[in-house]
């Protein structure tokens, strides 16, 4: 199976391990990831107003590039990119006005032909978690992991169409395919504070604290994420764990691809 692949800025720098483990595991699973050419930053945020549509030019360009590659689907990893691309694509499919404005700046019209998917969706729908489970060489037996979804994969509810917003299960299903145990805790979809860790640190820190403590209390030894910003925030404010886990309390935060790589032994 061949896919267009959009890595995004973060995977090329701070989240290199996310990209490496993705490409290694994809290869092991027989997937071919063809990087989109000359891509630019997607903008990290989908504009929440009616006036900033031109910031969608960069993601639409990348989507057109993906279309050139002639693959049905473009795979993304970073939850921020996924959010921007999924919504941009939907808007390009459904909003005629926007389509016209943006296409004025493109050489060839883009009409939303490419499907934007997350790597996890490829694993779930194209390969199937059962098939993934069969390829597992080192089962992650006994590992208790807290799945942490964050916001961007799931919301807005009617645009992302990724999983149930309040009770998603795809992380859990993925973990059980690897032989690990997903712990149940009520904070798996509560926001980590997102970009507030840049400008309002105490706010982000409190938000993170709640998640870490809840995961810890439910017996997790690590947290699984799909977003570099979630990972940064959850790692940055580990001292919040002190209340419940003592002076040196720590909880590792792992990309789902790191766990996959470990299980596939690549």
């Amino acid at each position: 199976m061949r896919y267009s692949y959009y890595p995004g800025c973060t995977l090329k720098t701070k989240a290199k391990v996310y990209e490496d483990t993705t490409l290694q595991t994809a290869k092991a699973l027989g997937l071919e990831m063809v990087e989109v050419e000359e891509w630019q930053c997607c903008g990290a945020l989908y504009p929440l107003n009616t006036e900033e549509h031109f910031s969608l030019l960069a993601p639409v360009r990348a989507l057109s590039q993906a279309k050139e590659l002639n693959h049905e689907k473009m795979v993304t990893l970073c939850a921020g990119c996924f959010n921007v691309f999924k919504r941009t694509n939907k808007a390009m499919r459904e909003d005629g006005e926007l389509r016209r404005k943006i296409n004025d700046y493109l050489e060839e019209d883009y009409l939303g032909e490419v499907d934007v998917v997350h790597y996890l969706e490829v694993l779930k729908k194209d390969i199937g978690f059962t098939a993934v489970a069969e390829k597992v060489k080192k089962k992650l037996e006994g590992r208790k992991i807290a799945p942490y979804y964050g916001c961007l994969l799931l919301k807005p509810r009617n645009e992302m169409d990724f999983d149930d917003v309040e009770n998603p299960t795809i992380f859990e299903d993925f973990l059980s395919a690897l032989g690990a145990t997903a712990v149940e805790y009520p904070y798996k979809t509560e926001c980590c504070g997102s970009y507030l860790s840049m400008a309002n640190e105490e706010v982000a820190e409190t938000a993170v604290g709640r998640i870490l403590k809840s995961a810890y209390k439910s017996g997790a030894e690590a947290i699984m994420v799909a977003c570099p910003l979630c990972k940064y925030n959850l790692e940055e404010y580990q001292k919040q764990l002190q209340d419940v886990a003592g002076e040196n309390g720590k909880m590792s935060v792992l990309y789902f691809t790191e766990l996959l790589a470990e299980a596939l032994d690549v």
């Binding site: 995004g8 800025c9 973060t10 720098t13 701070k14 989240a15 930053c41 903008g43 990290a44 945020l45 929440l48 107003n49 009616t50 006036e51 910031s55 970073c78 921020g80 990119c81 916001c151 799931l154 919301k155 807005p156 509810r157 917003v165 509560e190 926001c191 504070g193 997102s194 970009y195 507030l196 860790s197 840049m198 400008a199 309002n200 640190e201 105490e202 706010v203 982000a204 409190t206 938000a207 709640r210 977003c227 570099p228 910003l229 990972k231 940064y232 940055e236």
Partner: protein, 134 residues
Amino acid sequence: MKITTEKINSNLVRDVEEVSGQKVSACFQCGKCTGGCPVVWAMDIFPHQVLRYAQMGLIDELLHSKTLWICASCQTCDSRCPREVDIPKVIEALRLIIMREKGGNYLHPNDLPARVRENAPQQGLVSAFRKYAK
């Protein structure tokens, strides 16, 4: 604070509706947005109050609220709103209006602690500058 006919009818309300693409009158003040907001405790005006203030034309009060800089755009609130109000879009509109009015940049690279500048992922830095600076 006083609500008057002039305020309720002011153009500012229409500006907010236009920039956000949201009808503030759709909100029936159930408070579900506020109850679930992960950072609400740091806000001075709560999400449901943002809508109420907007309905009542108290836009000036909103423009000077801390809330605009606290909202993480996590979209928890609008994914639960029974009236399909996209609250972060309303907040974003207010943020844009005040940034335009004051020409202000609310975040400067030098404001960031070195630790953040070095470790934070691009995704976070780009997001923050897009939210807080023009």
